[in-house]
């Protein structure tokens, strides 16, 4: 069994599904000859040919539009937005067509497409290369928004995303692309979409996170455990549709919740979870819901970048504030 990184898990999932389903095609800038800017598609063009691994022009609008067309006509395209920050030109095609096609055609046509994008900061990249903007997509009906936090979940969730009959935004946390490895059997086993993964069971405080920040949440849980504080850690994994029940059950147990995300605070996806907690778990809460997030600024360049990112220390502080509240 292979011990692989998150980015290798993406490659492994793409290769598995392309080998087992001829309708799966990959397209994007530099995905073919070059193997992708992060090497996510390395070796795929040699293995499956130029018709199934398409190097596109530098034109996000075209990539997104072609993806909608392919998917609507029976293919299962996996499009790569080279960086999350380059996804804005794609949004018109995604929001106006991909997300609406099932509704527009009363279920006659679906768009079984996946848009992959290296997401978030922490790699000292130039401007436009460190965006965390998942919240722009969670507000679009008809889209699934999925973010893996480990190699195994990248493999299993990407397979599930490709097999899903509706459009999926698959955001890959690039900071942890190569950070560590995991045993990931290449057995084509998909993981379930639309459910949270409870990574750590606890009784005092619930830490809710997704993508790269799950690492900080787990580190914070370890630090809290040293002080005798039992933290439950939830990896949301599929942001929309949200498995709120798992979060609610946990908060009913712990009474406290800290939401950790990299995107700016205002109207980030943490706000949705906090609002749902206020609506449905008001009387279970022993403390205000805390949000540890990026700031309402553009992510700074590398010298200040890590100051912007949520750190385990900030999560620990927030958890302690919640514990001190009651």
């Amino acid at each position: 069994m292979a011990q692989i990184t998150l980015i290798e898990a993406v490659t492994q999932a793409l290769a598995y599904e392309m080998a087992h389903d001829e309708s799966v095609v990959v397209l994007g800038e530099d995905v073919g000859v070059n193997g992708g800017v992060f090497r996510a598609t390395q070796g795929l063009q040699e293995k499956f040919g130029e018709l199934r691994v398409l190097d596109t022009p530098l034109d996000e609008t075209t990539i997104a539009g072609v993806t909608v067309g392919l998917a609507a006509q029976g293919m299962k395209p996996v499009a790569e937005a080279q960086f999350e920050g380059f996804i804005y030109p794609m949004m018109e095609q995604i929001a106006c067509h991909a997300a609406r096609m099932r509704n527009r055609t009363r279920g006659r046509i679906t768009v079984p497409a996946v848009w992959r994008a290296p997401w978030g900061g922490g790699i000292r990249a130039p401007e436009h290369h460190s965006e965390a903007n998942e919240h722009l997509f969670t507000n679009i009906p008809g889209l699934r928004v999925v973010m893996p936090s480990s190699p195994a979940r990248a493999y299993g969730l990407l397979l599930a995303a490709i097999r899903d009959p509706d459009p999926v935004m698959f955001f890959e946390p690039k900071r942890i692309y190569r950070q560590y490895k995991e045993e990931v059997p290449d057995d084509g086993e998909a993981l379930p979409l639309d459910v949270c993964f409870v990574l750590r069971d606890g009784t005092d405080v619930t830490l809710v996170s997704w993508g790269a920040q799950v690492k900080e949440a787990l580190e914070a849980a370890d630090a809290l455990a040293e002080e005798g504080i039992s933290a439950e850690v939830i990896d949301v994994a599929t942001l929309t549709p949200l498995d709120f029940d798992t979060i609610a059950e946990s908060v009913q147990k712990t009474g406290r919740c800290v939401i950790v995300h990299e995107a700016p605070k205002t109207a980030g996806f943490g706000a949705e979870i906090a609002a749902r907690l206020a609506e449905e778990c008001m009387y279970d809460l022993l403390a205000p819901v805390e949000r540890v997030s990026g700031y309402d600024t553009h992510i700074p360049l590398f010298r200040l970048e890590m100051k912007y990112m949520p750190s385990a220390e900030r999560v620990v502080d927030a958890a302690k504030r919640a514990l001190a509240a009651s």
Partner: protein
């Protein structure tokens, strides 16, 4: 001799072949601090400041303003200050050229980057260098292998992915037979349980909120097997506990209708001065089978006409009462979610069939939750027919602004003393609670008498 370090032009964009010097911010011989601007350079994309890779003296500048420098070619030379804090050798600035590791730092090896004499392409040498896996920034690479552990919750050992799959497939993990090592539930176990339906969630009574998803965090006890055995579902010996040991449940937050009931009842208790009278209606004279609810409604209407003081609203704050010319009866309907009291409007003008049809409509709309809020208020008096389950007499609660509520108990055959002996009569126990702030005991008793008299009539 001083240790001279050469700084090679990093890739200032994404795979850009070269950049033009716009302006040097230092001269040869100047000292410069780490990260201070060394020069401005223009690429095909932008003008960027290149920060100094060292703290020390600038010994040589390769090129002047306007010169084009190939990516990876020498840009400047430094004599680093041995006493100053320098960037760690292996620490990347986030700039490098192509796949070469550590360019821009002192770890760079010039012989690996060859700018051709014609100023042409650089040998990118990918064949003998490690691929960093990115064309921008600096990717942290680690070879640490992480293993997600199975956690044991509610006596079930499973990894997060298995718990998530169980939730997705609505499988109750506590009822899945584990086949993994050390009693761990595997993916295959969950899939098999889902396929054969042996551990479906929801066999237990439905809970209001949340739905079954996530129940693995607070698993329900497994359903008792039809035949008890000495081993548990997990194949372990069944634990027994002394009778004195009580399982302590989790507090459950009241929601919706049940929550509203708690508020309304507490409010009623704080305001009303309840007084209860009880008696039995003798149904011995009834001819044939009759609709008990319709008869009850008719009797209440008759009693309201006889003693209007109990078909009224009372305002305790302003000490006013409002007698109603019509009779709208609130009929208590018990559901799993809590108590509903829909209003049977204009009971005083409906005949038996009309009453039956109206009650049926109200019950149905309560059961399928289509009843509008406007139908759940504004009644003038109410009826609780608890006798259909059990109980003879009660002290039902008057909910303001109403003044009275009638409780009908379970019908029974009673031994009744009659002139000349004893007989067995069918009787209906009737309780009436009234708000003594709004009506007198005499009014209540007369109301009760009128109700009993009508209920005792043959038809």
């Amino acid at each position: 001799m001083a240790d001279i370090k050469t700084f090679y032009l990093p890739d200032l964009g994404e795979g850009l072949p070269d950049a033009t010097i716009v302006e040097w911010h230092v001269k040869e011989g100047d000292t410069i601090k780490l990260d201070a601007p060394l020069c401005s350079m223009e690429t095909a994309k932008a003008v960027v400041d290149v920060p100094s890779p060292y703290t020390g003296k600038v010994t040589k500048l390769h090129g002047a303003a306007g010169d084009i420098i190939e990516t990876g070619a020498a840009l400047a030379e430094f004599e680093p200050d041995p006493n100053a804090k320098q960037r760690a050798e292996a620490e990347s600035t986030g700039h490098h050229h192509g796949p070469k590791k550590g360019a821009g730092s002192a770890a760079a090896e010039p012989k690996k980057v060859v700018a051709s004499d014609e100023g042409g392409e650089i040998d990118n040498g990918t064949s003998d260098r490690e691929d960093e896996g990115t064309v921008v920034g600096a990717m942290v690479s680690g070879s640490h292998v992480h293993v997600e552990q199975a956690s044991s919750v509610g006596g079930v050992k499973a990894v997060p992915a298995v718990r998530a799959l169980a939730k997705k497939l609505k499988v109750d993990l506590t009822r899945v037979k584990p086949t993994g090592a050390d009693g761990v539930v595997t993916m295959a176990d969950v899939k098999n349980a889902a396929a054969n339906g042996s551990a479906a969630l929801g066999a237990a009574p439905a809970r209001s909120v949340p739905a079954s998803a996530g129940r693995h965090l607070a698993p329900q006890l497994p359903e008792p097997e039809p035949s008890r055995t000495a081993t548990s579902l997990a194949g372990k010996p069944v634990r027994t506990a002394p009778p004195s040991v009580q399982a302590s449940g989790q507090p459950e937050q009241l929601k919706g209708v049940r929550r509203n009931m708690a508020r309304v009842m507490a409010d009623a208790h704080a305001q009303v001065v309840p007084t209860t009278l009880v008696d039995d209606a003798d149904l011995h004279a009834w001819i044939g089978k009759q609709d008990i609810t319709a008869r009850l409604i008719r009797s209440i209407v008759v009693a309201c006409k006889t003693v209007p003081a109990l078909n009224a609203w009372f305002d305790g704050k302003n000490l006013t009462r409002t007698l109603h010319p019509h009779v709208d009866i609130g009929i208590a309907v018990d559901t799993e979610e809590g108590l509903f009291v829909p209003a049977l409007r204009n009971a005083d003008v409906l005949d038996g069939a009309g009453i039956r049809a109206a009650i049926k409509r109200l019950r149905t709309s309560v059961e399928d939750r289509t009843i509008p809020a406007s139908e759940l208020s504004g009644y003038t008096i109410s009826l609780s027919n608890f006798g259909m389950f059990a109980g003879r007499y009660a002290t039902p609660v008057v909910v303001p602004p109403c003044v009275a509520i009638i409780g009908a108990g379970k019908l029974s055959h009673d031994v009744v003393a009659v002139m000349g002996g004893i007989e067995v009569h069918r009787r209906m126990p009737i309780s009436i609670t009234f708000d003594h702030r709004a009506a007198t005991g005499g009014e209540a008793a007369r109301f009760l008498k009128a109700l009993l008299d009508d209920l005792s009539a043959p038809n």
